[in-house]
Every structure is written in C-alpha cells, then in structure tokens.
C-alpha cells in the first residue's frame, strides 16, 4: 500500500512535469519574439522589469525553461501584467472559491445520484422511471452555462429568490476570511450556482448507477440475499446498491477532473471569482503569468483529486490489490 502511494506520487510528479513542459513550449514555439508575446508594453514598468529578471527572457531557451520549472516548484508565479500584485496573492482566495463550489456540489451529485439511480434501477420498468431517464439524459445534454442562464432568468430575475452572481454582495465584506464563507450572504450567493452545477453533474452518476443496478440485480449474490430472508431494504442497499457503486465510483476521478476543468464555464455565468474565471480573464488580457499559474493549479487539483479518488476506490472494493 505504501509502495503504491509512493509510486502514484512519483507518477503524479511526472505527469505534472510533462504538462508544464508542454505548456512552456506551447507558449514559446509561437512565431514572433517571445519577449514580446510575454511582455507587453502596456504593463507597469515595475512588472516589466520583474518579468525580465524572473523569466530570464533575455537568456537562452533552456535556461528559461529551468527558471520556469524552478518558479513553478516554489509556487513563485511572478507578477500580474495588469496589476502590480503578485500572482500568488491573486490566486489565494480563488482556489478556495472554486473548491467551495465544485467539491460539495460533486459530493452531493454523486451521493444523490447513487441513491436515486439505485432506486430507479431497483424498481425498474415503470412509466415514472422511463420519464426520469429521459429528464436526466436531457439535463446531461444541456450545456451547463445555458442551464445557469435559465436559472438566473427564472430564480433571480423573475422570482428574485437568489442573487444572479458574485461571491458576496459587493462591499459587504472587507476581509475575505473564514467568516465571509460562513455568512448567510455568501451562502445565499452560493445557492444558485451550486444548485445548477449539482443538477447538471447528477445526471451522469445517476444514469450510470441505474444501469449498473440493472446488471447487479441479476447477480447470484442478490438472489442469495433474498433467499437468506434479508429485509428488502437491506438487499437493496447493502447488496445491490453497494456493489453497483463500484463502476460508478471508478468514474469519480475522471468526472472530478472534468468538473474542476469545467469550472471555467459555471464561474463565467455566475461571475464566480474562482480559478476558472481568473484564467479566462487572464487569457482575455494576455496576462500570461496569471493564465499559466491558474492552469497549473487546475492541473494540480485535477491530478490530486484523481489520486485521492483512486485511493478511496480501494476502500470500496476489497478485491483491489495495490501492487
């Protein structure tokens, strides 16, 4: 087990290293003077200077690459082109904002999706179930940004139940600390993007759980549980659903990665100041250090999430051997 974790950590480092190398050359293989791509004259002079020194843009490519790697490892992302603030400073709260929206929403989507999907698979064949399959397939097929816009139109503009975006009411909090994240105002703002993201994400685990239940229900051990005279609910949850969870659980790493990467879209619709929005803003302003840092962090979160989900999977399925 320990060996497995060590090897996985090693693989994660290689993956990250490869990704960052690809990014480095992607930006620098472009036609034109790299210094000009990276440093625009619109920048603050102080930032311009700092950039040159930090990225070593006057030095050979290989040396630039080494400096680049060193900066990433030390989480030193330099300065934003657009404000004289350091990128690390900009990123700090953004990570939290993304995670606070995406993680609870994914957890709820998987829990609720598994339970609903299990019930649909168990009591299969009814008209209600057919309708549910249709509804969730359509939900899964809808672009999440469009669902978000519909939700804003309905719940914010027409009904006035929720604010249409942003983290908190502007000007309400001076310090973005723990108290802000626990405030009613924050939760009020969180509600709509949370609901939209959850109802979009729920379709996948739900439909997968349902079809997984359909094949598990025919397994001998489910029939055997019935022969043992176990109560129906126990057969449903402890045997059929428990085992049907396995193929659903294998998808968590992949879907978590997609959700983190896809946060770009939901954050844009709800003006949610997370990593995704930061990255989009950075791309629009050609704020290269910000884009690179945001991309790097999304990649780190994705890879870490995959790793944690893989470890959890081993707890669910005792047959998994870590070799």
């Amino acid at each position: 087990m320990r060996q497995y974790i060590l090897r996985r950590c090693w693989h994660m480092l290689i993956t990250l290293f490869a990704l960052m190398t690809i990014m480095f050359f992607l930006f620098r293989l472009l036609p034109g003077d790299p210094a000009m791509t990276v440093i625009s004259s619109a920048m603050y002079p102080k930032a311009q200077e700092a950039m040159r020194a930090q990225f070593g843009l006057d030095k050979p490519l290989l040396q630039q690459y080494l400096i680049y790697l060193q900066n990433l490892i030390t989480f030193d992302f330099g300065y934003s082109f657009h404000s004289s603030r350091s990128v690390s400073e900009l990123l700090g709260g953004r990570i939290v904002n993304t995670l606070v929206l995406i993680l609870p929403s994914m957890i709820l989507a998987y829990l609720l999706g598994a339970v609903l999907g299990a019930l649909m698979g168990w009591y299969r064949g009814g008209r209600f179930e057919t309708a549910m399959v249709l509804v969730f397939t359509v939900l899964q097929a809808a672009p999440v940004f469009w669902l978000g816009m519909l939700a804003i139109l309905l719940f914010s503009i027409n009904l006035g139940w929720f604010p249409p975006g942003h983290l908190v009411t502007p000007g309400m909090f001076v310090n973005r600390d723990l108290w802000m994240y626990l405030s009613a105002d924050f939760l009020h703002h969180l509600a709509l993007p949370f609901i939209v993201h959850t109802s979009y994400q729920i379709a996948f685990p739900l439909l997968l759980m349902r079809s997984s239940m359909l094949s598990t229900a025919g397994e001998d051990f489910v029939e055997f549980a019935r022969i043992k005279g176990l109560p129906e609910r126990r057969i449903l949850f402890r045997h059929a659903a428990r085992n049907s969870m396995l193929p659903v659980a294998t998808t968590i790493p992949m879907i978590l990665g997609w959700a983190l990467a896809g946060s770009v879209v939901i954050e844009t619709v709800f003006s949610w100041p997370g990593l995704g929005l930061l990255m989009i803003e950075g791309v629009q302003r050609s704020d290269f250090p910000v884009v690179q840092a945001a991309f790097y962090l999304i990649a780190v979160l994705t890879i870490l999430g995959t790793f944690v989900a893989d470890i959890l999977y081993g707890i669910l399925d005792p047959r998994i051997v870590y070799d």
Binding site: F221, I227, K228, G229, P231, N243
Partner: protein
C-alpha cells in the same frame, strides 16, 4: 441412512406448474410436479440441467424470476401454503426454517463484504441477537464445518473454493433450519473436495437432524446421500421412490438411461449416454415428453401424457409401458438400443 416408513411430511409440493414468459412464447418449465419431503430424511431430485429442478427449488424458496408465473399447485410447509403466504411471513421462514446451499459459493457470496459479516447478517435478520452474539454463533458454526473461525474476517476471494462452500454450509445451518435445499452443492469443486463436503454434510445431518432436498444431475451423489429420490424430466416428475428401489429396479426409460450413464465399476461396459437433447420448453412434445428420445416409445406415448402409477411399495413411475419394463431392462442396458437406427425395429418387434 434408513427410512422409517410412515413419516409426517415436512414439505409437500402438489401439482406445481410454472410457466416462463420468453420472447419466443410461454415456456412450460414445471408441469404438475409433486414431491414429498418427509421430516428427517434426504430426498434426491435428479435430472439434466434445464429440466426444471432448480425452478422447483426457487419456487420453494419463493425467489422465482420476474418472468416466471406459478399457474397451479401448492407448496405446503408444516401445513402453511408457501405460495399463498404473505411476503413478510415468507421472509421470516426463509433461512430460519428453510435454508439453501447454493451451486456456486463464489457467486452467492457478496465480494465486498467479509464472510463473517454475511453470516452475521443472516442471523440478525431472523434472531434478536447482538452483533457480538451473532459473531459467536457464526464462529462456532464455521468451526463445525471445518473453517478456522478467525477467517470470518476475510473476504470471499481470499477463500479457496472448498472453504467457500463450507462457509455457505455454515451459513445454511447456523439457524438450525428444519429443511436444507442443496442445489448441486459441489459442482464447482474437484472430486476429493466434493467427497469431503458431502461427508461433512452427512455428519452434520446426523448431528443436527435436518431434512434435505438434494438437487443434482449426478445419480451417484443421490445414491450416496439420500434415502428417497425423484427423477425429473422436462418439467415433470417421471419416477419416484426409495433410492434403493429406483436404482435397482428403475421403471421409467429415462431412469434406465440415467443409470446407464453411471460409470460402472463392476462391469466392463462403457457408460452409455442418452442420445438427443431435452425438449425446448417453448415447444414441449404432446404426449410423454421423453418419447422423442425413448427407444421404447409407442404411438400412444406421442399422443397421451402418462401419469404416475404405483409400480411397487412407495415406488411410482410415469410410463405407458410400466408393465413391460421388467422385461425390457436387459435391452435397455445395451448400447445398440440407444444408439442404433434400429430403434424403430425394436418397437415393431414388440408390436
């Protein structure tokens, strides 16, 4: 294992008919099957795979597939008709009064729970005991079937095939039910382990005194383990009686054929297989269902279904030619009778 003559029946299956809805039409899987299991005995039910013996067992357990429909009959257990009992009564009876040793322990055990937990949950579904008490009961039972109790914490995939089968037996006996159904309990195991398992079952039966319905395709297993037996072919019981009577003096040609397929140590001849295949449940023959494969079939056999007739004390057989069978037995032991195109000649010969 002697058979004290008149015993009160523990289970009485009467006229049980089950039909399966399939894409190709209704399949006639059980047709008026009747079987009595007297208290304290072992009854063997023999037949080829697909003959309906597993369906009969599932009907007793009340776990027939969704597309199966019971069209007639009753299953009396201690006087209660299981087919008309409500779901909760049935659930309580399962395992506590009727338990089952399944064919494949690997598939019956849930891979994600420990063996011990799966025994404990069976106990606690029927007895108001604490988890600790249930664990203790499970440990004792595992020891009794020859599995180290500490292995209860292991998962099924960590057990060998024989151990898994023992664990299932422990599970089946832990509540001391009056009846144990055993569905080909050793097919997935090698010969030596098979023998150990049956030895264990017999000694436990002597100790605990449960009745057993042993379903198998292997006549030898029945001879070794049961006092009474029934032979099933294509959804019908075709012969039944004491094992000694049925095996030594079989009446139904199918039983004769089954006996031929046993490896014979005393004789030099090779086992003879019954030619052909069992009929398609969706398209059953009109008269006797064995007629298409029977070397002794007459025209009447193809039009009229035979009924079970008494051919000896407690021995019944469903064949139109019951009376002639004793004379036909030597012929039935010959290879040519079953595998020559001369089949028709024999029929004409007798006419």
């Amino acid at each position: 294992m002697t058979d004290p003559a008149p015993l009160s029946p523990l289970v009485e299956i009467a006229g049980l008919s089950v039909r399966f809805r399939t894409k190709r039409g209704p399949g006639d899987v059980l047709d008026a099957a009747s079987l009595v299991i007297p208290a304290g005995t072992s009854v063997g039910l023999v037949g080829e795979s697909g003959c309906g013996k597993s369906t009969l067992m599932k009907a007793v357990m009340g776990v027939l597939a969704d597309n199966a429909e019971i069209t007639a009959g009753q299953i009396l257990h201690n006087g209660t008709d299981l087919l008309r009992a409500d779901a909760e009564t049935l659930r309580r009876k399962r395992w506590a009064e009727i338990s089952m040793i399944t064919q494949s322990a690997l598939n019956s055990l849930n891979p994600v729970h420990t063996v011990g937990d799966q025994i404990v949950e069976a106990i606690r579904a029927h007895r108001p005991v604490s988890v600790a008490e249930a664990r203790e009961m499970a440990a004792q039972m595992l020891a009794l079937v020859g599995v180290e109790p500490r292995r209860a914490r292991d998962y099924p995939h960590q057990f060998s095939g024989g151990m898994r089968q023992r664990a299932i037996i422990a599970m089946a006996l832990v509540l001391q039910p009056g009846l144990v159904l055993a569905d080909e309990p050793t097919t997935s195991l090698d010969m030596i382990v098979q023998d150990q398992i049956f030895r264990k079952i017999r000694s436990l039966q002597a100790e605990l005194g449960f009745s057993m319905l042993l379903v198998t395709h292997d006549l030898a297993v029945v001879i070794e383990n049961c006092s009474r037996m029934a032979v099933m072919y294509a959804g019908r019981i075709v012969e039944e009686g004491l094992v000694a009577d049925v095996v030594n003096a079989p009446f139904h040609p199918y039983t004769l054929g089954l006996k031929n397929s046993l490896p014979r140590i005393d004789r030099t001849s090779e086992p003879i297989a019954i030619p052909g295949a069992p009929p398609d449940p969706v398209d059953m023959p009109q008269g006797c269902r064995f007629a298409p494969r029977c070397p002794f079939a007459l025209p009447v056999c193809r039009s009229q279904p035979p009924v079970l007739e008494t051919v000896g004390e407690g021995h019944r057989s469903a064949c139109h030619r019951n009376a002639e069978i004793p004379g036909l037995r030597p012929r039935a032991a010959r290879f040519a009778t079953w595998h020559d195109t001369a089949t028709t000649d024999i029929t004409e010969d007798i006419q």
